[in-house]
Symmetry: C2
Amino acid sequence: MTDLIDLLAVARLLSWDQQTMMPPAGTRHRADQMALVGRLAHEQLADPEVGRLLDELAPRADALDPDSDDATLIGLVRREHEKAVRVPSSLRAEMARAAAEGRPAWVKAKAESDFGSFLPVLERTVELKLRYIDCFPPHDEPYDVLLDDYERETSTAEVRTLFERLKPPLVELISRLREREVDDSFLHGDFSPERQRQLAYEIIDLFGHRPDSWRIDPTEHPFASGAGTDDVRITTNYHPDSLESLFSTMHEYGHGLYNHQLPARLERLPTGLSCSLGIHESQSRLWENLVGRSLPFWRFFYPRLQEAYPEQFGEIELERFYPAINRVQPSLIRIEADEVTYGMHVMLRFELEQDIVNGRVDLRELPQVWNQKMWDYLGVEVPDDAHGVLQDVHWSGGMIGYFSTYLLGTVMSVQIWEAAGRDLPDLEERVERGEFAALREWLGEHLHALGRKFAPQEALRQATGSTIAAEPYLAYLRAKYA
Amino acid sequence: MTDLIDLLAVARLLSWDQQTMMPPAGTRHRADQMALVGRLAHEQLADPEVGRLLDELAPRADALDPDSDDATLIGLVRREHEKAVRVPSSLRAEMARAAAEGRPAWVKAKAESDFGSFLPVLERTVELKLRYIDCFPPHDEPYDVLLDDYERETSTAEVRTLFERLKPPLVELISRLREREVDDSFLHGDFSPERQRQLAYEIIDLFGHRPDSWRIDPTEHPFASGAGTDDVRITTNYHPDSLESLFSTMHEYGHGLYNHQLPARLERLPTGLSCSLGIHESQSRLWENLVGRSLPFWRFFYPRLQEAYPEQFGEIELERFYPAINRVQPSLIRIEADEVTYGMHVMLRFELEQDIVNGRVDLRELPQVWNQKMWDYLGVEVPDDAHGVLQDVHWSGGMIGYFSTYLLGTVMSVQIWEAAGRDLPDLEERVERGEFAALREWLGEHLHALGRKFAPQEALRQATGSTIAAEPYLAYLRAKYA
């Protein structure tokens, strides 16, 4: 199993390199390399020897404490092995290759706002995903198969129920808040990318990590990756006219910290990986929103920002800055959305993806359908596909079923923040003093240390005392925007 | 076999990343990842299935044109398979571990100029190399086994004969040239690294390559790598007080161009790899020395350098610059040596390595033996082991038998240059006009296109009409320094 984990790390590095360093013409080589590493990883997991070993262990496994490292490892490997053997290596390799080839095609299509050139990539991705779904026994809904790869043991119906609980209050909040006049003009201007880069490093050093183990690189679409707990790589986009990179750095810091604090005891074991995308996102949203868009944080950090950009912020009081970075305004781009409208972007994608998988939408008409939903949910008009259906990288990389985890994570982030606050009653004061060690350690001990031993809802329950719930998130938003 | 080639590309990328991008704390993960990829590559080659396939193909192979793609592929794979199966995986693993542990020990020993702390590493490396040699049937000389890994089908005796032919004329040349007064003081000064970086990119663009397929990064020791013909990565060191990066960039360009122009027809086949380290070095030395230290090149490029560094070169005429970059002066460090003294550094190592492998030298006395030879061959006194026996990384990484390829390549570079000149009679005028396409294409067509189909001397014969010879190299040096 250590070979499998090492291969997954190599695959992450190949992907990181493709997005940050690789000369563009190298794509065709990278496609071969990623297909190979993907196939080798899959062969490790699907190896009949693994099945035999699991059968051998079964009698002894029953006697173990079900929460023990050994029992959870056996359970996880059995689950992943049984999923792996259902999917032919040839299909896995095709999926890996399509992903490697799809990304640059998306970059080009997005740059030219040309959905037509992206359509064949999308058609191929959907075709592969449908073949993938067919490898599994029928679920309640075909989309369940895709969702399970990102959010283990979480059904489409459960997510739908949660989202339906969220939607009306969010719509109500948005319609109320969109009327508010908030001046955020000073957030747009001339922000030297080199200084943004310095601030990004300053922020991850302030939030904290072990030395010599992190790096930040610029990419079109920010992400977190890395080849091990001591090789953490996050990316951001230093737009010269906005400070978006600050918040995306805090977001990716949350992902990076989770990877950084995975349990050393379970290193190079499947149970030592991160739990799920939703749990991962809870960590990024916690640092981006609960810390990074909070008043206590900016009481500490705003003087530093003023010092970095005296022309832009020298005259602006914190009392004007704080509402500006929390301005609620329906907009086009998910990753730039505020905390309140963000959920609507995710729900739109969650619904569209189900329509795609269930064949209820003609892919050629996706831009129109997208634009209509944007109008219905957020009241915004999409000017072109680059600001609409082409904005996200996910589909080009074969990731269908992924988006809902963003909102699951956002909702869970509030529950986790509140649980940390119960154990650390002076949490806000610590943030205001720029002290993050206690929060980092609390997350490490209560959540990161669980690795992938448990399904996400069980992990959340162990860390916070309850499974996912809409109410804390809604209450948090209502209080913040009261 | 395509898997093997893809794995080798992934291994190169892992190593490139480690030297350019990886956060230092990631070393322990990278060691696991590289060990895994190395093991998988070896398993591919040693696979009994490969042996069975070769046996099956044998009758048909005999009917093929021996120079055909198929026949050379079968021959090469048989050769590499038979070598691979002779070496137990346990020994391979021990060698990999010793190399992984040896490098940091060398870095430390060199930094502290402490041969004593490096001695156990060297003893272990030599012991492993002797066990490695024992895996093979007796050769004329044990050192042949090691040399063959770097310079296929080239014997120690052949190299010795060549080097003995070179030594007396080089010694004579050096003693004559060392007396010459050459002012190169203006080559030392304040050279902005950012401008050096721009010049490095300008040079590789001037020499020429396909778009979007190269990158240059800074490293302590320059090298060329990359993950495929359209993913070429070279490195250099922008010392702020010298222009060494210009020449090292031209050197690595030669390596990179060879990788860039390997035959598309044989891509992802063992015969599509580069021929040997010696042939590789012939390409780097050709661009660094025959082009990059030539008067025609600087007639074209010197105005550009003056423009880039007006303070340093505005007042210096080309007639003073050209002798300065070709100054001959015996010195301590191989990688900083001029064209004339370089060979002596290599011969010293070639002789010492044979003494080591044949047990003719007590490893504890290696520094004294090294220093004595440096005095005998170059008349320089070695002040400490960091500037002597500890200067090169090779032995710490298990590379014994490698050094002679540097001089073989240097000698061959002149033969290749002259062959190109016979087909392109206006080659010097082209260089003087900054036109490199014809040279690039000649190298591609006559040498790079051969890939690894033939042993290096046969490849050289096909490209130039003759095998390696001392005379063209000596004549070139005598003419240049007349």
